[in-house]
């Protein structure tokens, strides 16, 4: 009886986690549904009524389990950030979706990413834009991500290991920039490399906890406006007077 129970438990564990492509596909689909529900719930706060079809498609297509350490592949499609080594994380899928949507990308856009990490965000961007330029400051991470993106066929992503402060001048200007690496300030050179009418998205917070998102829009006259978006349905006051 005990042996039977142990075998059942073993089988349950084996099959409760996705272990092959098809299983990951279903898990990914569930993740997308969860992300959509979160986005819907947050709509009145984020200003995004619903995620664009392009974002949904990209989230449903990019194989997140290939961007996390093998030991975490089984939980790759949970809607949570995961550690990827070197003190870095892969962002929560909901936050990735929200940031990507805020960038308002078109098929022909040229995008700069500061902070490649595992390359997941770059892959999502690559599904939606013409070209993605991604800079990582941590050498091993940047190299791994570059190889990974290549092996997965993301030929419209160029990666580089260098200081992101000065952006990628030879590829500038950009239609959109995303700065996922922590910085005490927004580097002025990056703002310069943003096209008039372009958008820059910056998540603020710390590893595992995005506190709010910044959407910096460059006007045609070069001035900038900034929206600060709380990615959660939350009213800080109880009751109403």
């Amino acid at each position: 009886m005990k042996r039977h129970f142990a075998l059942s438990a073993f089988l349950f564990f084996c099959f409760s986690f996705p272990s092959h492509g098809e299983g990951y596909g279903a898990a990914r689909q569930r993740m997308v549904e969860e992300v959509l529900a979160d986005a819907d719930a947050t709509a009145s706060y984020s200003g995004i009524s619903t995620l664009s079809p392009g974002v949904i498609a990209a989230m449903g297509k990019v194989e997140r389990h290939r961007f996390v350490p093998a030991a975490l592949a089984a939980v790759a499609y949970l809607n949570r950030p995961l550690p990827i080594g070197h003190g870095q994380t892969i962002s929560q899928p909901f936050i990735v979706a929200l940031m990507t949507d805020l960038m308002g990308l078109n098929k022909g856009d040229r995008v700069l990413e500061i902070g490649t990490g595992s390359g997941y965000q770059a892959a999502v961007l690559a599904e939606m834009a013409r070209s993605v330029y991604s800079i990582e400051i941590i050498e091993p991470l940047g190299k791994e991500a570059g190889e990974r993106l290549k092996s997965l066929g993301y030929h419209n992503v160029q990666t580089r290991v260098s200081d992101g402060y000065y952006g990628w001048p030879e590829a500038a200007p950009f239609d959109a920039i995303i700065v996922t690496a922590a910085a005490s300030h927004v580097p002025p050179p990056l703002l310069k490399q943003l096209k008039p009418g372009g958008r820059m998205v910056i998540p603020l917070g710390t590893q595992f906890m995005t506190q709010f998102l910044m959407l910096v829009e460059k006007q045609q006259d070069g001035s900038v406006t900034n929206r600060q978006i709380l990615p959660v349905r939350f009213v800080p006051l109880t009751g109403g007077h």
Partner: protein, 876 residues
């Protein structure tokens, strides 16, 4: 007469206490600094569990006393570094506590690992007490002497030796204790062992009142005319066998080669054992900085105040300009990153005397006061020059900012001499002799102490933003005391302002607003308590995209000043959060939020409905006070369920993770102490001797009350002693020494008219009077004496704690003596219940202090002692 291992026990006690203090340093470096309560709880658990083990295995251990004692000391030597190293291997990440269900289990593993050395220490000390009961008071003197020397001595050692090397030294010291024990035990003449006296005074270090009862019970004359127990008392007869001939067993220890072995190992540990590798969390700021190609450590300094690391990166230079305006076009000059215990960075900026490269400092929200001051008329301030005080000067960014704005005199106050030393010596040229510039004066002092003792009047007091954004935004400071941002602190700052002068405080921006509104509420309270009838006229606040700056003026803001305030903000796209006469139209223009939260909050906090707003707000923005100085704690239970439900819907950052960590620690402390202290007794033959309700209540109550008092005083003295580590060491040492003195007095107080219950009642009444007296007078006393040198403050602290601790030393031995005469079978349970309460009480006290304040925790402790008085009268 057998001779106890006096020297060895002193060394062992010194090791254990030094280790306890040292762990708070090491955990600050590895994780974050507020794990002190967890370490105290783990220490108590180790002591409690060793007491239970001694009770249960007394018959098996007794024949091998010498060997077990020496092995316990040796095991302590090994486990002190080993437990720490193993704990470092546990992938515990507090930041993942709410994401990853395995994290609480990892926290528990760390907790249990940290318990092990204390278990060995407790076992060794308890063995000696139980074996040489007749000489308990002499042993206790050595024990306390060692403990006091250990807890205070390690602070001194930390000034010259980095903590990781201190750990090696403690290993050597414990091995030396083992070697000396071999010698001390060997030279004893063959003699029948004294009848042991107790289950081991295992918890003597943090519960010093427990220790002296061993000696005291011997003086209890049993009722019904029984003969006075031989040896050290009635308790002994229950707890340890009385007939073992320990001498024969001790002689089984081969002293010479064993002693030489331990001495050799001690020398080896001291000389050859490298400093233990301390691996900081990969998510700490320093670890992140070191991941970047080109990063290298160019300087390291260590003191009890913190481990300073200076990082240079020529390939990817640090560019620290917190919250610089999006309109800025300049960038910071080359900088070095200064990290304290791996948190930071603060920037040590290259300065060549030219002000132009410092232009970025004018693009920060903290530059606001200089513009507002510049608009002031008449020009008398221009003539005499602006006098600025920077509190928390660190490596000098705010001093550079003051220089950039042409301040004539700048007083820079920094607690840690190692930090100012970087600027004055090691990087003097790089920093352009910043702290030697004309008009700049540097003071190594605690901010509150400096402000209270200074006679100067300042045009501007700038409270620097030294903590890191990541740490603050993750809620990592939620449990720590901070006396810079309390109502009393703001009052003190305001009292040092010249007419028209300003206090400027800059904080990181959090959304929904937390720090900013709490700071605003604190300033409003301070102004009101200073007798200002219209605080609204003296406050302005701006917010950038990442920082918020609040100005509090010594006088009403003028139209000129408000105009300059608006101009400054507009030019940098900073938003106006409050100025006198502000309307909603002026808010939320550049960094657009869904609602103008900051303006609405400021308006509410200035309105008669302030308290209603604070109550309805889902974060705790009640002004911080010296009694509840947890400025960074924003957690509210009433919002917990909602926030918890939103954690995976983008709301994780709303949760102040340090609070759930505290609750998780409490739960594990309860579970671990039940399992390791109470359950073994319940499963042993002791289950037949369950104590009556009054006995259980009594020992539970005095366990909780003692820890409440001790923890509350540690936290309260952080203000006076300037640093949590000083407070832990000094307050622990004082409680140790004087509670044991009280315990000794209680035992020698043999007047027949004074029954145990009367003694306890007297002690509790005295304690209540003292506690009330301290609650009424300590704030003023601290204010008056805070400027004194550290040595003087340590002596004053010990003197203040002494009478209270002496009273607190009375209840435990009195209860034990009462039990010894009435219900000896209940003694092991009394130990265990008291141990359980101590383990849980250490964490619970922290939790209660956060919610109720130190005063309430102290009063609660007195109340619980009163309940204990009543319970004692109910003993059979």
């Amino acid at each position: 007469m057998p001779r106890p291992p006096f020297i060895a026990i002193s060394l062992l006690s010194a090791c254990v206490l030094a280790y306890e203090v040292l762990l708070t340093r090491l955990f600050s470096i590895v994780l974050w600094h507020h794990f002190a309560y967890m370490i105290i709880s783990a220490a108590m658990l180790g002591y409690g569990a060793s007491g239970t083990l001694l009770t249960l295995l007394k018959e098996k251990i007794a024949p091998h006393f010498g060997l077990v004692y020496v092995l316990a000391a040796a095991a302590l030597a090994v486990l002190m570094p080993a437990a720490f190293l193993l704990a470092q291997q546990v992938p515990f990440n507090p930041l993942e506590l709410l994401w990853d269900k395995t994290q609480p289990a990892k926290l528990l593993v760390v907790y249990l690992l940290m318990m092990l050395p204390f278990f060995c220490g407790g076992l060794g000390i308890g063995l000696v007490f139980s074996h040489f009961g007749k000489q308990a008071s002499r042993i206790y003197s050595c024990d306390i002497l060692g403990a006091g020397a250990g807890s205070l001595g390690v602070i001194g050692v930390l000034f010259v030796v980095p903590p990781q090397q201190v750990l090696s030294a403690l290993t050597a010291l414990a091995l030396l204790a083992a070697a000396i024990a071999v010698v001390e035990l060997k030279v004893r003449p063959r003699h029948g062992a004294a009848k042991p006296t107790g289950a081991g005074v295992a918890a003597s270090h943090l519960l010093p009142q427990t220790a002296d009862f061993v000696g005291n019970v011997s003086k209890v004359r049993p009722r019904h005319g029984a003969a006075e127990p031989t040896g050290a008392g009635v308790a002994a007869s229950h707890l340890l066998p009385q007939t073992a001939d320990f001498v024969g067993n001790v002689s089984k220890v081969q002293p010479k080669w064993l002693m030489e072995l331990f001495v050799g190992l001690a020398v080896l540990a001291a000389v050859a054992l490298p400093g233990i590798q301390v691996h900081s969390s990969a998510y700490k700021d320093l670890s992140q900085a070191m991941n970047i190609a080109g990063a290298r450590v160019v300087e390291e300094r260590s003191s009890p105040l913190g481990q300073i690391t200076v990082v240079e990166n020529s390939r990817v230079p640090l560019r620290h300009a917190p919250g610089m305006s999006l309109n800025a076009t300049s960038e910071p000059p080359p900088q070095l990153g200064v990290y304290i215990d791996g948190d930071g960075p603060s920037a040590l900026t290259r300065f060549d005397g030219s002000l132009e490269p410092l232009g970025y400092l004018d693009q920060l929200t903290s530059a606001l006061p200089y513009h507002v001051l510049a608009s002031q008329e008449p020009a008398h301030r221009e003539l005499k020059g602006r006098h600025v005080l920077v509190l928390g000067a660190g490596p000098g960014s705010d001093v550079l900012q003051a220089l950039y704005h042409r301040s004539a005199a700048i007083d820079a106050v920094e607690l840690d001499r190692n930090v100012t030393g970087l600027v004055q010596q090691r990087f003097r040229d790089f920093a352009g002799n910043l702290y030697g510039q004309p008009g700049v004066h540097v003071y190594a002092a605690e901010a509150r102490g400096f402000v209270n003792s200074s006679d100067a009047r300042y045009d501007l007091i700038q409270v620097a933003l030294l903590d890191s954004f990541g740490t603050a935004s993750a809620g990592l400071y939620g449990l720590s005391e901070n006396y810079l941002y309390t109502v009393e602190a703001v009052q003190a700052y305001l009292n040092r302002l010249a007419p028209g002068g300003m206090l400027a405080v800059t904080r990181w921006l959090t959304l929904p607003p937390r720090d900013a509104l709490k700071l605003f509420a604190t300033a409003v309270s301070a102004l009101e308590q200073n007798g200002v009838s219209n605080p609204a006229a003296r406050l302005v606040m701006i917010r950038g995209w990442k920082t918020v700056t609040l100005l509090v003026k010594n006088g009403d803001f003028t139209a000129n000043e408000i105009a300059s305030f608006k101009k400054f903000s507009r030019a940098r796209s900073f938003d106006l959060a409050w100025y006198p006469g502000m309307s909603a139209d002026d808010a939320n223009r550049y960094n657009i939020l869904a609602q103008p939260y900051f303006f609405e909050g400021a308006v509410a906090l200035l309105s008669p409905q302030r308290q209603d707003f604070i109550d309805r707000y889902k974060f705790d923005i009640e002004p911080a006070t010296d009694d509840r100085p947890h400025f960074f704690r924003f957690f509210k239970w009433k919002a917990a369920a909602e926030i918890f439900s939103l954690r995976e819907q983008g709301g994780m950052s709303l949760f102040d993770w340090s609070y759930p960590l505290l609750v998780a620690t409490l739960v594990q402390a309860i579970a671990a102490s039940v399992l390791l202290i109470l359950a073994p007794l319940a499963l042993s033959r002791c289950r037949r001797t369950l104590p009556g309700a009054p006995v259980a209540l009594y020992f539970l109550a005095i366990g909780f009350a003692f820890m409440f008092m001790e923890i509350a005083f540690i936290q309260k003295f952080v203000l006076f002693l300037s640093h949590p580590l000083y407070a832990v060491a000094v307050v622990l040492c004082a409680f140790l020494m004087f509670a044991s003195a009280g315990s000794w007095l209680a035992g020698h107080w043999q007047d027949g008219r004074w029954q145990a219950a009367n003694k306890v009642s007297f002690a509790v009444i005295a304690m209540g009077v003292l506690a009330l007296f301290y609650l009424a007078t300590l704030p003023a006393l601290f204010q008056m004496l805070i400027h004194l040198p550290d040595a003087a403050k340590i002596i004053i602290s010990i003197a203040l704690i002494a009478p209270l601790a002496m009273c607190m030393g009375v209840p435990f031995p009195s209860g034990m003596m009462r039990l010894a005469g009435a219900d000896e079978e209940a003694i092991p349970w009394a130990w265990a219940i008291n141990g359980f309460a101590s383990v849980v009480g250490a964490v619970l006290a922290t939790l209660l202090a956060i919610h109720l304040g130190f005063a309430a925790v102290i009063l609660l402790a007195v109340l619980i002692y009163a309940v204990a008085c009543v319970a004692l009268r109910g003993f059979a």
